[in-house]
């Protein structure tokens, strides 16, 4: 059977599934339940500096969007870092690590942007026996107004500086958690690397307003009629996170820097995709908050079963396997020609493919053939965009079929070339590099 034990930035865990720093990891009670359920590790809910604990709002903290059957697709929160006493947290961390030595225990930290503050807290954390620290440079709400969280994460120079302080003041591996609320994720990643980070983790939450109450015109969640932007997470952010992970994995400067993948991971499949795009392990928050800790067993077994079926012996066989296939648009093969094909036995005649293509795309799907309701692709018009595939309610009913070399594309009337040819060499490209 596939071996899914994991070593990330030198930290060992029995599987690559960690709980992200968030409410599920805020106290010993939750973390012990998580470990019992099988989670490989946790990043403890972010600790702040010594002193009176933070206060959270006392009204609702979450906003959400849902899909069909009220399935939670996106969650937004305005929670701050831990609101429990620093020493209570440290005592619990120490106890849990002692009781669960084989699980990864990473402690998330966010203190003001002064070296003294970091110097003060690092030995306290180290004393617990924790395996590593994660620097929370990501939180986009509340803490950022106080010059922490994403206020640091949005300035590469600060990231580098704080990372360097931490590396200088602890023996523990340092993971830098990045905010997605920037224009190019490679800059903060490069800064973390320059500061000596052992790894980066991403993404933290995306700044967001999920909805507006149309009775009182307050953003949700509404605190006494007012709302504040929150941090968005859950399945809806997965595509954003995947891209950012891939950007770091294939950037010449940061290539090889361990990445802990976070953002919308809900099933083993999501996790496998993050690993394939270069993540060394994954962290989960919303899925656990939606369904409870038990989901980890589906993730573990699903990953193992898939690896067995594919013949992948260990995570090293999987991690980064998709990275070489991520490229720039200009290098995509323009000689690859596909046509949509509708499986008439599976088609339930809902007509959605037709209207999507007819109204908004290329008029390439019939509504009637010989006077009867029937949906067929018109190869002469189909540009192969696959919009129809994505709107069809029946999975695999429409497939994209590549044309073989030598076949004629009935839309262009041209024969399909078997050679690779991209935009950089295309005759329509004014700045093409002449092919020798």
């Amino acid at each position: 059977m596939a071996d899914i034990t994991n070593t990330f930035a030198g930290i060992k865990s029995p599987n690559p599934f960690w709980l992200a720093s968030a409410p599920p990891t805020d106290k010993a009670y939750n973390v012990e339940r998580a470990f019992r359920a099988g989670w490989g590790g946790v990043v403890w809910k972010t600790l702040g500096e010594e002193g009176p604990p933070l206060v959270n709002v006392n009204g609702p903290r979450y906003g959400a969007i849902w899909g069909a059957d009220r399935r939670l697709l996106g969650l937004n929160n305005i929670e701050l870092i831990t609101d429990r006493d620093l020493y209570v947290n440290l005592r619990e961390i120490k106890q849990v690590k002692k009781d669960w030595p084989d699980r990864a225990m990473v402690v998330s930290i966010m203190v003001p942007c002064e070296e003294a503050a970091w110097k003060a807290i690092l030995p306290l954390v180290e004393e617990t026996g924790a395996d590593g620290i994660e620097l929370n440079f990501g939180c986009p709400h509340g803490m950022s107004e106080r010059g922490m969280g994403s206020a640091v994460g949005q300035v590469p120079e600060y990231i580098e500086m704080v990372t360097r302080w931490c590396k200088a003041n602890t023996r523990m591996p340092v993971i830098v958690k990045l905010t997605p609320n920037i224009t190019d994720i490679r800059f903060p990643a490069r800064a973390a690397m320059a500061g000596g980070a052992d790894a980066v983790s991403l993404i933290n939450t995306v700044s967001s307003i999920t909805s507006v109450n149309l009775d009182n015109f307050s953003p949700e969640p509404s605190i006494d009629g007012k709302g504040s932007h929150g941090g968005y997470c859950g399945p809806a952010v997965k595509p954003i996170a995947l891209n950012m992970v891939a950007e770091i994995a294939r950037d010449a400067e940061t290539r090889g820097l361990p990445v802990s993948g976070i953002g919308g991971i809900t099933t083993w499949r999501d996790a496998a995709e993050f690993l394939a795009l270069g993540a060394g392990n994954v962290q989960v928050c919303t899925a656990a908050m939606t369904y409870g800790f038990k989901i980890v067993s589906e993730m573990i077994e699903g990953l193992e079963n898939w690896m067995d079926a594919q013949g992948h012996a260990s995570l090293d066989d999987v991690i980064g396997r998709a990275v070489p296939n991520v490229t720039d648009w200009q290098y995509l093969n323009l000689n690859y020609v596909t046509k949509a094909k509708i499986n008439q036995d599976m088609c339930i005649s809902c007509g959605r493919c037709h209207i999507a293509c007819e109204d908004t795309s290329h008029q390439a799907i019939t509504q009637e053939v010989d006077g009867v309701r029937r949906f067929e692709v018109i190869d002469e018009e189909c540009v192969g965009c696959n919009l129809c595939v994505n709107v069809c309610p029946v999975e695999n009913c429409i497939t994209m079929e590549p044309l073989a070399a030598g076949e004629t594309d009935r839309r262009t009337g041209k024969k399909v070339s078997g050679d690779y040819g991209n935009w950089t060499e295309h005759p329509n490209n004014p700045s093409r590099v002449a092919a020798e």
Binding site: D69, I348, S349, C350, G351
Partner: protein
Amino acid sequence: MNSKQHMSGVVAGRLDASDIEGNFQDLHPPLNAHEAVVAADRCYFCHDAPCVTACPTSIDIPMFIRQISTGNPLGSAETIFDQNILGGMCARVCPTETLCEQVCVREVAEGKPVKIGLLQRYATDHAMDSKNEIYKRPAASGKKVAVVGAGPASLACAHRLAMYGHEVEILEAREKPGGLNEFGIAAYKTVDDFAQREVDFVLSIGGISIRYGQKLGEGIALEQLQSDYDGVFLGVGLAGVNALRMEGDDAQGVVDAVDFIAGLRQSKDKSDIAVGRRIVVIGGGMTAIDAAVQAKLLGAEDVTICYRRGKEQMNASVFEQDLATSRGVVIRHWLQPEKVNTADGKVQSVTLEYTSQKDGRLAGTGEMMTIEADQVLVAIGQTLEASGLGLPIKLDGGRIATDADGRTSADKVWAGGDCTNTGDDLTVTAVAQGRDAAEAINKTLKQ
């Protein structure tokens, strides 16, 4: 146990009033808000949706369902009412399993259609309970139309005419409006006096008046209406019924099923409706099923429907047949009544002959059987009784002949609903025909 439960003969109050009340609860209880959203989520918002094509009134079903899921049930109801002002009743009585839901793509895909009927009820109930004014009559057009009958065809016609500002006078033979919505539909499909509430809702647009006890053919001649009004619509339904025409058909205990149901529908708590201990129902349509089921719910011990052809030929849908059998009704096929056996003028049993289909023709086999009964409910079809109406109008198959717009052979006279020769005998078809005739009348009046 009620002491009358096993009494022979035709007896009222076989069950306690509270049991009867329990038996006649809503057949399909309404969806609550949560159920409605879950059900609405399943709709794919099909393009040129098959369900719309199957609905005789062509309600934009994907649109009204989408409006439910976006939290706009009032807008949803408007979408429905724009096509079908009796959308509330249709949501309750349409045989959706042979109309919209039969062709829903999710029925095709999974054998589980979107619950279109129940969703339609959810939206229309919401609108009718909210007391919002949905339709406002525009300035009077100065034209006046006579509408004969106050059943679904006529109500739909009257409402559409009022939407164009025409004045409508409805002449109804009975003392109450609604037609078969009020007197025919099974009680468990339209509980809580819904039929009358719906009539009030239709009339609330204004410009429509109803005169009761006005029977065409009795003191009112069509020619008179043609000269007094700018247009005439006939929505008289089928007032006559086919009789058994056999030995014993005049015995005490032989009852026409339509009359039986009408009596039941008008009764306050139904404990005064007499039913036999053993009942034979003759017929194979919706009326036979409804009469049988309701007799059973009133406490009859054995109820047997005898139909002269096979299961497939029954006019009642499979759903209706299953409903009957689930309530303990026995359905027997290939049996035709021969005579009603009596003693002291009362029904004792029914003798029936086995039938079979030979060379496409139905024929008795000569073999007989007898079923004990103290009541016989006759449901073998309704007729127009055109002669009583004194109509100088072309008929077709015993009903009023119309063109696609509902126009009859008589000048300025349109017709719709059961009394015409087109479409199924369904509430929703009557509504569609009444509405479309109104459109045609309006066009003519505007010329």
